[in-house]
Amino acid sequence: MHYVVIGNGVAGTTAGETLRRLDPQSAITMLGDENFPPYCRPMISMVLEGTVSEKALPIRSADFYDTLRIHPVLGTRVSQLDPESKNLATADGQSFSYDKLLIASGSDPRAIDAENQNLDNIFYMRNYAQVRQMINALPSFKNALVLGGGLVGFKAAYGLLRRGLQVTMLISSGYPLSMQVDETAGQMILEVLKSRGLLVRVGSQVIGFEGGDRVRGAFLADGGHIPCELVVIGKGVFPAHGFVPRDKIKVDAGILVNGCMETSAADVYAAGDVAEFIDIARKRPWVNAIWPEAVAQGEVAGTNMAGRRFVYKGSLSRNVIRIFDTDVMTAGLVHPPSDDMEIQVLTETDRRRRLYRKLVFRKDVLAGFAMVNRIEQGGILTALIRSGLPVEKDKSRLLAPDFNFARLMPGSRACPIH
């Protein structure tokens, strides 16, 4: 048996480890476009911020491939895949055949449509190399422009603010993290960032950049101009499945998979950012390009590839962000469709203590939440979404910042049987 894993992110890494644990004999080949040993990608924003040393980035030791007897093929990307002949080829001309294949190729940053994008000091923030370049050039910057108020743009802006730069954030929606949080939480986050000196421009787009070799400014669609020596493009990511033949493997936004992470083609699996799987809160297929999902899906894929059936219930979008002294956690459905009669929304706002809670219920089942500060018990809520258990008692109990796990237990269980 020859397993091939495309991608050495955390989905591919976890799958590789699972395969080796369950199948000590077979050959495993792992392809990755980055030359480093597996590292923690969500932490690159903390490296930019300066709170985490780059030495802390690797999630596995340098001899990871040797120890697990995995053949690494690094520094190249897969360019072609034929699931019928079970062959694939890389951009630099190597070819491989497989018995079972895992596509864990992750995602790429979404490009923008603007002129002069090839100027120096215009970055995407997706991998360690890009952050390293930014840090190297940091001393020469005073003004930074961050495009996008999503997670990447947001973390970039935060990191650069902490580095002492004057940062302008350009967002198309009214508040940052509009995909993750609702307006109330979004405004609270915006206030925190503004109070620390972030400039925010809402509702415009960049159409081009100016400068000789290096970027010196950006032109906006509304005729405005923003001077800047550093630009970070954080307009989200899209699954990296350009090499997948769509007539042979079903692809929607991501590669469609079932609970065993199997694609529509025989012996081809997908996991992580590139995969699209039923979302437990939204109740429809969804790409959840987040680290913990990639870990879970990598393990499910590896287990099934090794011949042991392991069905995954569904993915769940979730995120936690700490900015200055403010914590934000969200999961599942935060923006429910307003015409859905089954949806019930509970909120609680305490402006003075800067607390916010929003719970979204579908009938009696928790489908999503957003919370600002006092987030330490948020895991109880994510577990509640995952379990799908109805909350039949007073739902507002869950809004209390100091609620206790016992509040979820049926009264009979806390009362002695004897």
Partner: protein, 200 residues
């Protein structure tokens, strides 16, 4: 191997376990000195109120597999297999709160801790009193618990006892199975009071 077992029906909510826990994780190891320490030692067991005002000592279950361990970005969470304890290395922890999002029981807190590097906020949770146990002592919360809501015993033995109690309660002579009539009365009173207050 012995483990801490929680018997929620016997918890009065006195919170002595919290004080004992904070003291056990202080520099001085005595309550009065611990109260003046910087950083202030904090409990890792969290007593809260349940649905009918009963106490509930919420404590790390040391799950296996542990969701916090799988969610940890820098790999700071690991398992000590000798004591079946999930531990957090404060030197590696980056205070990202990914574990807060993963813990289904909500038992992880974020603050400075005497065991962590100075001025560093880290994730802190129950460590099964691993240092005390190396000295031959039992976990502090169990030692201080006056009502038997927390016990330190072989899980198999505790399971057997519980199974026997359930079996006995199902037998025709159910009254004879009353092992702790005081707690039963107390909890029933609390429950009735809550029911009356809710009905009002």
């Amino acid at each position: 191997m012995k483990e801490v077992i929680v018997h929620p029906e016997r918890c009065l909510g006195c919170m002595q376990c919290m004080l004992a826990c904070a003291t056990a994780h202080s520099k001085s190891q005595t309550l009065f000195s611990a109260a003046g320490e910087t950083p202030l030692p904090k409990p890792r067991v969290h007593v809260g109120v349940g649905t009918f005002e009963e106490g509930f000592p919420n404590r790390c279950r040391h799950c296996n597999p542990a969701p916090c361990m799988m969610a940890c970005l820098p790999g700071a969470i690991y398992r000590d297999t000798a004591t079946n304890t999930v531990l957090i290395d404060p030197g590696i922890c980056i205070n990202c709160a990914s574990c807060a999002m993963a813990c289904p029981y909500g038992v992880i807190r974020y603050h400075e801790d005497p065991a962590a590097p100075l001025n560093k906020v880290v994730a802190v949770k129950c460590d099964n009193c691993i240092e005390r146990r190396q000295k031959g002592m039992i976990p502090a919360c169990v030692e201080v618990c006056k009502t038997g809501a927390l016990t330190f015993e072989e899980p198999a033995a505790a399971m057997k006892r519980k199974t026997d109690e359930v079996a006995q309660s199902l037998s025709s002579d159910a009254e004879a199975a009353l092992k702790a009539p005081g707690f039963s009365l107390l909890n029933r009173t609390k429950k009735s009071r809550t029911a009356i207050n809710t009905a009002r």
